[in-house]
């Protein structure tokens, strides 16, 4: 009797296969964990891939100190539940200079995230890092390999990528080079949501609508997550029913007004929505249409 695997079953099998290849062939792998919904699914897949062993690599959170409180809570809980080591890295220079999203704009992302990531990988000597990027997120991601090579200085060369044929991944590299591996490359946003629902994958509550203190700036709804948020003269936080479609640093992440408080409702809203997912994030708007591609060449994930 034959049966057909569903698209989620096939995506899951592919992601697990990729993770096992990395563990078999890399010397010191790590999983980058950003606490968002894509990271949540990636972590769940890792736990499936190696069960009954815990995933044989640590989680690395490149922290900016400006994430939502709820993200820090889930991060610590998931590390405990998975039995994995959690490494938190904060770029000491960014910390010393007090880099923050309110005063420093693009420099904030560059110092805390791009530089912080490079420093953390170098510090621990990781030669393979799992990331939760998806090809449907953004145009330059659509062309990136699943095993994406970085030079010793973490640069990405889109014209010089290794061909990936069948599911035969070439994980060989010379000393100093590293690989960024994207096991959920072929998942779409809807796949992620469906998988979260089917597998009860824990996610940050901010994805669900609730009354939260907000201010509106430059057409973006920002949540006042703690008292570091500098209110402009006359600005008063307003309680609105909001939720987030993506999560990053709270001062850079726009919320949407919503009443979707269950997974089904969130998925419903996602399906009915008419704007793309990353639209709420400031990062893609830098440097015109080629924003992400330029950032990646510089070493951003």
């Amino acid at each position: 009797m034959t049966s057909t695997l569903t698209h989620l079953e096939r995506l899951e099998a592919e992601s697990i296969h990729i993770m096992r290849e990395v563990v078999a062939e890399a010397e010191k792998p790590v999983m980058l964990y950003s606490v968002g919904k894509d990271s949540a699914v990636m972590l769940h897949l890792a736990r499936k891939a190696f069960y009954p062993s815990p995933p044989p690599f640590p989680l690395l959170h490149v922290d900016t100190t400006w994430k939502f409180q709820a993200m820090y809570e889930l991060r610590d809980r998931m590390a405990r539940e998975s039995g994995m080591e959690l490494l938190v890295y904060q770029n000491p220079e960014a910390r010393a200079r007090g880099i923050n999203p309110f005063d420093h704009g693009a420099l904030h992302t560059d110092m805390w995230k791009t530089e912080g990531l490079k420093q953390a990988l170098d510090l621990h000597g990781f030669d393979a890092a799992f990331g939760g990027a998806r090809r449907d997120e953004e145009k330059s991601r659509a062309k990136e390999r699943i095993f994406s090579f970085r030079t010793a200085s973490h640069g990405w060369d889109p014209k010089n990528q290794r061909p990936e044929i069948w599911n035969l991944y070439n994980a060989r590299k010379t000393k100093g080079e590293s690989i960024r591996v994207f096991p959920i490359s072929n998942w779409t946003e809807l796949d992620i949501w469906q998988y979260i629902q089917l597998n009860d994958v824990p996610i940050v509550p901010l994805y669900f609508a609730a009354p939260r203190p907000t201010v509106e700036r430059d057409g973006m709804l920002l949540m006042v997550d703690d008292d570091r948020f500098p209110l402009k003269p006359g600005e008063v936080p307003v309680e609105r029913s909001i939720r987030f479609r993506t999560l990053g640093c709270y001062p850079l992440t726009g919320a949407v007004e919503s009443t979707a408080s269950t997974l089904s409702e969130v998925i419903q809203e996602t399906l009915l929505t008419t704007t793309s997912e990353r639209q709420g994030r400031a990062i893609d708007k830098d440097a015109g249409g080629a924003g992400m591609e330029v950032k990646k060449q510089q070493g951003y994930f």
Binding site: E14, Y51, P54, A142, K143, L168, L271, L272
Partner: protein
């Protein structure tokens, strides 16, 4: 905007009963396909159209698209769907797609992953890459132009990589007034060609990616066409994952799962067939058998697993099984062999070197392999077989290859996972080729090792010495032969049994059929390596003096010997110094062009990175050098 509204409207169920909608959509299947066409066949436009019609384009993207279309588009004031698909900045400027890009969309019945690959001549490798994971290929033809050289090439490649479902999409029908006669003419042309290369069946359809004809439903412009629209066909065609289940069970082992002493599981992706607890299995290449006890997952044990699933199996018996092994149905296992005929698609700028050792990865096995001179190369435009000495970037050829140990395999035709391989350059680590095994060569199965009663330890014991290979490498005129000769004399005085293999001397006999091309140099070293290996088996201390310019071949010889037996001696003389000495007058000849492929002049010398011994001939006399080498060998 003159384009039609999307035919695939958002289902009303989403708004009315989301849970019912989700329940329905959890059972979608996944089809991966590839679109192939020449630069102007409208490939990106078609993909953009599929995304647009299946509501995969959001308002903000559409706004950006409309703005971009006016700025850099090629369709005047109309939407240029191609801009949705052409990703990288460099490409957007050039107006062509230069790499493989993957796109995602879904309908009621299926989710789709499209590999968009370029039609440009120099990018055969991209198409092979995109096609390797596809269940179906859409071959695009411009209705005004008909079957072109590129159409033939794309079809050949799709067929070569084993895609069973071919769709011939005759595009831009709007530009030929939806002519039935023109469509029939193109299909007849294509059929004749397809049959000649072994494509048994294909589905042809008249479409317009730009106008949307026969994309999601029947078009009023082509009443004469009664076949399915493109989307309908994509939604119903049979998946490879389903047909793979009918084959005998095979699972390459990726990773052994050992959380504690009580659990030992074998993890992998099932390549073919099905498995359930109680099944008798055999582990290849060892041939050991056992029974499957559990199929373990985080969500509980499974009663059955099928091709395409990633699982962890446990066995009833403690048998050896590790990464690279293949678990198979006990009474129908695959074969193991070490010599094959294969089709090879070369993907690197640096040409293939027959005889050079490359890493070969097949399933989860990685071994060393050497490829012989191709039997022929295929002209992908005319399908002619051409004689070839090597394969260059984007060349496809058939050659024999040998691996350094047995690998478990099946012909690619029967099983892509156990018959498809990649070759990896050992120095640069680049993926240089993709290949497909045809069959094992008979000689590989009939030549066996003859066990001998007097072994290598016995030979060495009689001589009261430890065998070794002192492998001298360095430029011509560096002093290799001089120092090697002194070393042998000193060892002879110490009653050691030695043999000196000298480059010039060997070329008078054993290797007199070889010249000085890269391929011949590699074969020269391979033969000397084999002879040196026999001599160490005989218990001798072997001294070799060959330029041996390539790192890969020296490493190949090193890997033939027992650990510690290979001692690389770099006779390090600067080129200027060797050329100034020019004992044999060869540099003068090379400089004047009378001697081709001369190492250091017009052929490279790759110095050892960490030789066991390095001799700086500008600091030591030959006698001092020889003493130093002997002291290292016999402390």
């Amino acid at each position: 905007m003159t384009t039609k509204e999307p035919i695939y409207q958002v289902e009303s169920l989403i708004a009315e009963d989301i849970d019912a909608y989700l329940a329905k959509h959890q059972h979608k299947t996944l089809l991966r396909f590839i679109t192939c066409g020449s630069v102007d066949d409208g490939k990106s436009t078609l993909i953009g159209r599929l995304l647009y019609d299946s509501k995969m384009i959001f308002e903000d993207q559409l706004a950006a698209l409309e703005a971009d279309s006016k700025r850099v588009g090629t369709q005047g004031q109309e939407i240029d769907f191609a801009l949705l698909v052409d990703g990288l900045a460099a490409e957007r400027e050039q107006g062509i797609t230069i790499d493989v890009a993957y796109r995602f969309f879904g309908t009621e019945k299926r989710k789709f992953i499209v590999a968009d690959t370029p039609g440009h001549e120099q990018y055969t490798r991209n198409m092979v890459t995109g096609a390797s994971t596809a269940d179906l290929a859409v071959i695009l033809i411009d209705a005004r132009k008909g079957v072109l050289t590129q159409t033939r090439r794309h079809s050949y490649l799709a067929h070569l990589i084993g895609i069973r479902n071919i769709v011939l999409a005759v595009n831009k029908m709007d530009l030929v007034d939806y002519s039935h006669a023109r469509f029939d003419e193109i299909v007849a042309d294509y059929r004749a060609f397809a049959q000649s290369i072994g494509i048994a069946d294909f589905v042809a359809m008249p479409i317009s990616g730009f106008k949307g004809d026969n994309i999601t439903g029947p078009s009023a412009n082509t009443p004469w066409y009664t076949g399915p629209a493109l989307m309908e066909h994509l939604e119903t065609v049979e998946l490879d994952q389903v047909s793979d289940q009918a084959k005998p069970f095979r699972m390459p082992v990726q990773w052994v799962n050992r959380p504690n002493l009580d659990f030992r599981g074998f993890s992998g992706l099932i390549a073919a067939g099905t498995v359930k607890p109680g099944d008798a299995i055999r582990v290849l290449p060892s041939g050991k058998t056992s029974t499957v006890t559990r199929i373990v997952t985080l969500a509980g044990d499974l009663e059955q697993a099928i091709a395409g699933q990633s699982v962890t199996l446990t066995f009833a018996d403690e048998i050896d099984c590790s990464r690279g092994d293949v678990i198979a149905l006990a009474d129908n296992p695959p074969q193991a062999a070490d010599q094959f005929e294969a089709t090879i698609v070369w993907m690197a700028d640096e040409e293939m070197l027959p005889g050079r050792p490359y890493w070969l990865k097949i399933g989860t096995q990685t071994v060393t392999a050497t490829v012989q001179q191709p039997k022929y190369q295929v002209n992908v435009n005319t399908m002619e077989h051409l004689a070839a000495k090597t394969l260059e970037l984007n060349a496809i050829g058939v050659a024999n290859l040998a691996t350094d140990r047995n690998i478990v395999f099946e012909p690619y035709e029967q099983n892509h996972a156990l018959g498809g391989f990649i070759l990896i350059d050992k120095i640069s680590n680049a993926t240089v080729a993709a290949g497909m095994l045809h069959f094992a060569l008979r000689r590989s199965q009939n030549v066996h090792w003859q066990a001998t009663d007097v072994g290598r330890e016995h030979h060495a014991g009689i001589k009261n010495q430890k065998p070794a290979v002192l492998w001298f490498t360095g430029l011509s005129g560096a002093g290799k032969s001089t120092i090697a000769n002194l070393v042998e004399k000193k060892l002879a005085r110490m009653n050691r049994h030695t043999f000196l293999l000298d480059g010039d001397n060997v070329r008078h006999g054993l290797n007199k059929d070889l010249g000085f091309t890269d391929a011949d140099r590699i074969e020269n070293i391979r033969r000397v390596g084999e002879v040196a290996k026999l001599m160490t088996d005989a218990g001798l201390i072997v001294i070799t003096a060959f330029i041996s310019p390539f790192r890969s071949e020296r490493d190949m010889v090193r890997s033939m010997m027992a650990p510690g037996e290979f001692i690389e001696v770099h006779i390090d003389t600067p080129l200027a110094e060797a050329e100034a000495r020019d004992v044999k007058g060869l540099y003068r000849k090379a400089r004047s062009g009378q001697l081709k492929n001369f190492t250091g002049i017009d052929s490279p010398y790759e110095a050892p990175e960490s030789p066991e011994i390095r001799i700086d001939t500008t600091a030591l006399t030959p006698d001092e050098a020889a003493d130093l080498i002997v002291a290292q060998l016999i402390p």
